[in-house]
């Protein structure tokens, strides 16, 4: 296995909600011990619903926030906002981002050519006609006519604006791009264009993607590996094929069951009740336990309430994970004979 291009180790981010003068505020445990790695040229998707912590994780990876704990490693070297300046500079060149709303991503008062040229100017890479050529090249790469470079963002459609945002992300020839809901704000018929573009660019330039999304269908289409987040933790991490064909964690099952199938004869699966866990007021033990159908199935044992499987289970391999006391090959100490899914033993 090649060494990963990006590694997150035990990332933690807690926010304190200030309560003003009346006592201390609550702690929002937005990200609580998340570890994963991205392989060169591959896409790792992080999926989750609201409150899962996936967006905060993306911001931590982009060094837009300082983690409360844990670390980020790029090509083996640790990077942080207040770390080595040279390392940080290299990181900034190599890791870029594309966000959800194309119009908010592009400064409304800058011309498109300046927007795309900015990263190059920041790093003093080029100037003058060389810069202009590079901008034209990038626009062509993403399918926008270079003649429109002097226009402003609002003069483009949503799809084109997102292409421009992608062109800017490509300017420094990064190794990894963080895609935060890259097509959610776009119309359906445009999404396909952008998704195809992203896949094409990955093949062409050997890019790695960290894809953050709530859209499970899109994720299946684009990803090699998938991590599922719930209430600030990664509860399952495995390759995409396996996740969709043979999900282990009850929450993953719940997510997949809830995605409405395009076949009217395939009904919605078992809908899990309750609300998404509130990161400011988490359940004890396993964060999913109040809603977990598996727990009910196995007779509501106390371990789900007392022990958090994310910390209780030893992770041998940072590329495979299933944080459940009753699923996955690594069992927590006490319950060796916990129920498995009928038939096979699963090698996680």
């Amino acid at each position: 296995m090649t060494s990963p291009i990006l590694e997150a180790r035990g990332l933690v981010k807690h926010f304190t909600l200030s309560a003003g003068m009346l006592g201390t505020g609550a702690t929002v445990r937005a990200v609580d011990g998340v570890s994963f790695s991205v392989e060169p040229g591959k896409t790792l998707a992080i999926v989750g619903e609201s409150g899962s912590g996936k967006t905060t994780t993306a911001r931590l990876v982009l060094l837009l926030e300082e983690p409360t704990g844990g670390s980020i490693h790029y090509q083996g070297e640790r990077v942080s906002i207040d770390g080595d300046r040279e390392v940080l500079k290299r990181y900034r060149r190599s890791v870029q981002a594309v966000f959800q709303d194309p119009y908010s991503s592009l400064s409304p008062r800058m011309r498109v050519k300046d927007i795309i040229a900015e990263p190059l100017r920041i790093h003093n890479d080029m100037s003058g006609s060389e810069l202009e050529d590079r901008v034209a090249e990038l626009l062509e790469e993403v399918g926008v006519s270079p003649g429109r470079a002097k226009n402003y963002p609002h003069q483009f459609s949503g799809g084109q604006a997102q292409r421009i945002a992608i062109a800017r992300a490509l300017a420094l020839r990064p190794q990894l791009i963080v895609l935060d809901e890259p097509v959610s704000a776009l119309d359906m018929s445009i999404r396909a264009q952008i998704l195809n573009l992203l896949v094409g660019l990955q093949a062409r330039f050997g890019l790695s993607y960290l894809l953050i999304s709530h859209d499970l269908s899109m994720v299946e289409h684009m990803s090699h590996d998938v991590g599922v987040m719930y209430a600030g933790q990664l509860v399952e991490l495995t390759d995409a094929e396996r996740l969709y064909s043979d999900p282990q964690h009850p929450y993953t099952e719940a997510l997949l069951a809830a995605v409405p199938s395009l076949d009217p004869d395939v009904p919605l699966g078992n809908i899990v009740g309750g609300e998404v866990a509130n990161p400011a007021n988490l359940p004890t033990g396993c964060r999913f336990h109040p809603r977990c159908p598996l727990r009910t199935e196995v007779g509501s044992p106390p371990i789900c309430e007392t022990s958090d499987p994310v910390t209780a289970k030893v992770q041998k391999d940072s590329s495979r994970l299933c944080a459940c006391h009753f699923r996955g090959s690594e069992r927590t100490g006490t319950d060796q004979n916990g129920p498995e899914r009928s038939g096979s033993v699963h090698q996680v």
Binding site: R93, S107, I122, Y152
Partner: protein, 225 residues
């Protein structure tokens, strides 16, 4: 016609006095807005961008200044220091600075979390670059509108101060002064007061309109395809 708007009680031509008075009033207003505006914008940008302790300190200062009654403070100050162009500029600038600082800080806070600013950080932009290239241009529109509003309001403040005798010293033909000295002739020779008043009103109105126009012109979204 030698004196188209008539003469005042000392025989001076009102038209030329209105025109010269205008020059002085506008000069003063512009001066204060430029000095106070520059300082205020700087404070607002830094305070809004950095947040934390810096922000709190600047904010307290701004709030304190804005809770003072401008005219009263100006009266006392000029009374103590003595009337002069410089004195008036000196005492009015902090109030303008505070007003700009508060406005710019608010806008900076909004722009700072915009996605394009975050992406500039991701690309490795320095703080200076972000402030100058991203925040300032997107705040410029509001600054200009505020500046024109303040110029208008300063002309009125200056007129008030001169009217009360603590503004620009005579014999400089300040409009407020002209209004004041024309007071005793209000019933008989009302034009001594009327014309400087009209001048004030028309000037302030025009400046506001210019501000509106400027803001529209500078907004790229207004340039329709």
């Amino acid at each position: 016609m030698a004196y188209p708007l008539g003469t005042d009680q000392l025989g001076r031509d009102i038209l030329s006095r209105v025109i010269y008075g205008g020059r002085i009033s506008i000069l003063l207003a512009l001066g204060v807005v430029i000095i106070g505006g520059a300082v205020g914008t700087l404070l607002g940008l830094i305070s809004g961008y950095r947040g934390g302790a810096t922000d709190s300190i600047v904010q307290r200062g701004v709030e304190a200044t804005l809770s003072l009654p401008t005219i009263m403070v100006a009266i006392v100050f000029v009374y103590i220091i003595g009337q002069s162009f410089a004195a008036v500029v000196l005492i009015l600038s902090p109030f303008i600075a505070a007003s700009f600082a508060r406005m710019v800080r608010g806008e900076t806070l909004a722009v700072r979390n915009m996605q394009y600013v975050l992406l500039a950080r991701v690309a490795g932009a320095s703080h200076m670059r972000i402030i100058l290239r991203h925040i300032l241009p997107n705040v410029a529109g509001t600054i200009i509108v505020l500046a024109t509003l303040e110029v208008g309001s300063l002309i009125l403040v200056e007129a008030t101060l001169s009217f009360l005798g603590v503004g620009i010293p005579p014999p400089m033909p300040a409009w407020g002064l002209m209004v004041d000295s024309g007071r005793e002739f209000l019933t008989t020779r009302y034009w001594l007061t009327l014309f400087p008043c009209l001048a004030i009103v028309l000037t302030v109105l025009s400046i506001n309109w210019i501000g509106d126009w400027l803001r529209n012109v500078l907004d790229p979204k207004q340039q329709l395809e």
